[in-house]
């Protein structure tokens, strides 16, 4: 009964006109950035973080969450019509979605992507509601060693699943940690790496850092190599899939939802890996696997459901443990911290309006997305035609205003420009920025948990191996590190002449 009372309370919060408005703004911007190449959800959330200062925390989180799951919907449109994934999560959708469009079946492809996303998004929100509570209750028994071990595991998983070199990803994670140490030490009030600059006493701000790394560097990357794209000239009609298409799609959607939801909970690239896994499973289970890659609707339905379900699952570790499993959740954690809110085991008890309001808004957001994505497809096609040369000055302007408006500080703007240049060179050199930002956000918590653990144990590292959860997480962390070291040594031996 308590559960239903909470859901009703969530509806009361989410259905307030101001929250409905921010939910709509969030899913609209999400779809927009999903469609637009050259700016992703991480960039969009970074750009809008400063705006969240001026609005209540519930509305802010509802809007930012909307951008995240909204971008999953939008990403499929470009995959199907342009053969360019709007987001990394929609890469697989290109394979069969674009082929369907070439055959004149763009309508059903877009339709099943939207319906599959809707079903998966809704089911994952239900899963989120059921799983967060028990996990948070369990986490109440966690101490600093458990939190430290889980954060280590999260960081290592992110780096292990990095698309490029794991060494580079690990370097970025350590660099992110190092950046988080700038400012006053929480235990001794010692000024670390501040170089007598008063603005650095509170540490490097999250907003200049992420806006520089994701906003400015994205523009610098794209301006060097402009995106060229050709929209397929095809008739988009018959958006509602027929009975046969539904029959072919429904089980892939259900399976994709399960895969996406559980992979989304795990730290790492759940939203990126789950569509790939869903595609592979559907191909394996299909009676005619040769159809895949030539326009099979199952190849669109499963992966699209998986990436949307993953976005719901990703909220679980953030809201129950306070540990963000991916970059988008790290940015949401940053937004919560801006309002002085720290997610963790007591989050639901302390901020029921925020938790239930956000979760229920995700139901409502999914309905809005369905409405936005089906009748408004022609509008998104027009959006696709906006040239990048019109967009990039606007992105830069939003970055400049955003970085300035937080503290009315030109120092923050300068810092953002510096991070933009740094981000550009790092990305060009093959470094991924997600581990850097995740480590930067987690850094203060990790340091605090690590030092507290050592103080509790009187300086003995055994504290991390006496407790079962910490032992389990650290053992997996060490195994992953060992595996990647072996891979590195093997590759060096192979490359040696």
């Amino acid at each position: 009964m308590e559960f239903f009372a909470n859901v009703i309370y969530g509806f009361q919060v989410a259905c307030q006109p101001i929250n409905l408005l921010y939910c709509f703004i969030g899913v609209f911007i999400g779809t927009l950035v999903g469609v637009l190449p050259g700016i992703g959800p991480a960039g969009a959330i970074s750009l809008l973080l400063p705006v969240t200062f001026h609005i209540p925390p519930v509305s802010a989180i509802i809007m930012l969450a909307g951008i995240y799951y909204g971008s999953m919907y939008g990403g499929s449109t470009t995959s199907i019509l342009v053969n360019i994934p709007g987001e990394a999560t929609s890469v697989v959708t290109c394979l069969d979605g674009y082929q369907m469009a070439r055959e004149g079946r763009a309508g059903p492809a877009l339709g099943i992507a939207a319906f599959g996303s809707f079903i998966a998004g809704t089911l994952s929100v239900i899963g989120l509601m059921f799983l967060v509570h028990p996990l948070a209750s369990m986490a109440l028994r966690f101490g600093p060693p458990e939190f430290f071990a889980l954060m280590c595991l999260g960081l290592i998983l992110i780096t292990y699943l990095a698309r490029g070199s794991m060494i580079k990803a690990l370097m970025m994670a350590v660099f992110g940690l190092a950046l988080s140490f700038v400012g006053m030490d929480i235990f001794t009030a010692y000024q670390r790496f501040t170089f007598n600059i008063p603005q650095l006493m509170d540490g490097i701000g999250l907003i200049p850092l992420v806006m520089g790394l994701f906003g400015i560097s994205e523009v610098l990357i794209n301006i060097g190599a402009p995106v060229t794209q050709e929209i397929l000239k095809t008739k988009i009609g018959h958006l509602f899939p027929n009975l046969r298409e539904w029959k072919e799609s429904i089980m892939p959607i259900v399976r994709g939802t399960g895969i996406g939801f559980f992979l989304g909970i795990l730290p790492g690239a759940g939203a990126i890996t789950s569509p790939l896994m869903s595609y592979a499973i559907e191909k394996k289970l299909s009676k005619s696997p040769e159809k895949f890659g030539t326009g099979a609707i199952e190849g669109v339905a499963g992966p699209e459901a998986a990436n949307n379900a993953a976005s719901g699952g990703a909220f679980i570790p953030l809201l129950s443990l306070g540990i963000p499993p991916n970059i988008m959740m790290a940015l949401l954690l940053g937004a919560l911290m801006i309002h002085g809110i720290f997610p963790g085991p007591l989050f639901i008890k302390k901020y029921p309006d925020l938790f239930w309001g956000t979760v229920v808004s995700m139901y409502i957001g999914n309905v809005m997305l369905l409405i936005l994505n089906l009748p408004l497809i022609p509008l998104w096609v027009q959006v696709l035609k906006i040239p990048y040369k019109i967009l990039f000055p606007l992105i830069l302007l939003f970055c400049l205003i955003g970085a300035y408006s937080v503290n009315n500080s030109l120092f923050d703007v300068t810092l953002m420009v510096l991070f933009g240049i740094l981000g550009y060179f790092l990305r060009r050199s093959g470094f991924e920025l997600a581990p850097l930002v995740l480590a930067f956000v987690l850094g203060p918590f990790m340091e605090s948990a690590f030092r507290r653990s050592l103080i509790i144990s009187g300086g003995s590292f055994s504290i991390f191996f006496h407790r079962p959860i910490a032992r389990f997480a650290l053992t997996i962390t060490l195994i992953l590190l060992l595996l990647s070291t072996i891979q590195y040594i093997r590759r060096r031996r192979f490359l040696r002449p």
């Binding site: 370097m171 523009v219 610098l220 420009v417 300086g459």
Partner: protein, 144 residues
């Protein structure tokens, strides 16, 4: 890049030692930065070694097609914004910066550049300064 990170790791370690690493049962402010410095150093050396075995070819190609002139212009424009904002104020600085970005980087027709710069300045001012009550310098356009 790896060499820069090696230098950074050395600086990190040296500064951490100055701060005080402390004892294991009473860790000092330098313990975590020192550990990060050591880790960063090891990883950077490993990265450098993996590059020397695969050859420098890949690293050069990453920067081969970069349009340095455009990049430099954008960076200078961003820095100019921070310099001129307190002097010229938000409206004038933003308009000039946007006009330059529309006309100087990827040249547009004058009317497109003008209307783009005007509309983006006006709309962002209405959104951030009026609706969200943000504070922006008025500079020489101040009437107070």
């Amino acid at each position: 890049m790896s060499i820069l990170f090696i230098v950074l790791s050395i600086l990190l370690c040296l500064d951490s030692v100055k701060m005080g690493i402390g004892e294991l049962n009473n860790p000092g402010p330098g313990l975590m930065p020192f550990s990060a410095g050591i880790l960063l150093g090891i990883l950077s050396v490993a990265d450098l070694l993996s590059k020397t075995s695969s050859g420098p070819k890949g690293e050069e190609n990453r920067f081969k097609e970069v349009k340095w002139g455009r990049l430099l212009l954008i960076i200078i424009t961003l820095i100019a914004f921070t310099v001129f904002l307190p002097i010229l104020g938000y409206l004038l600085t933003t308009f000039l910066v946007m006009l330059f970005l529309y006309k100087g980087i990827e040249p547009q027709k004058w009317w497109v550049a003008f209307s783009g710069a005007f509309l983006s300045t006006l709309l962002t001012y209405l959104l951030f300064a009026i609706a969200l009550k943000g504070f922006f310098p008025e500079g020489m356009l101040s009437f107070r």
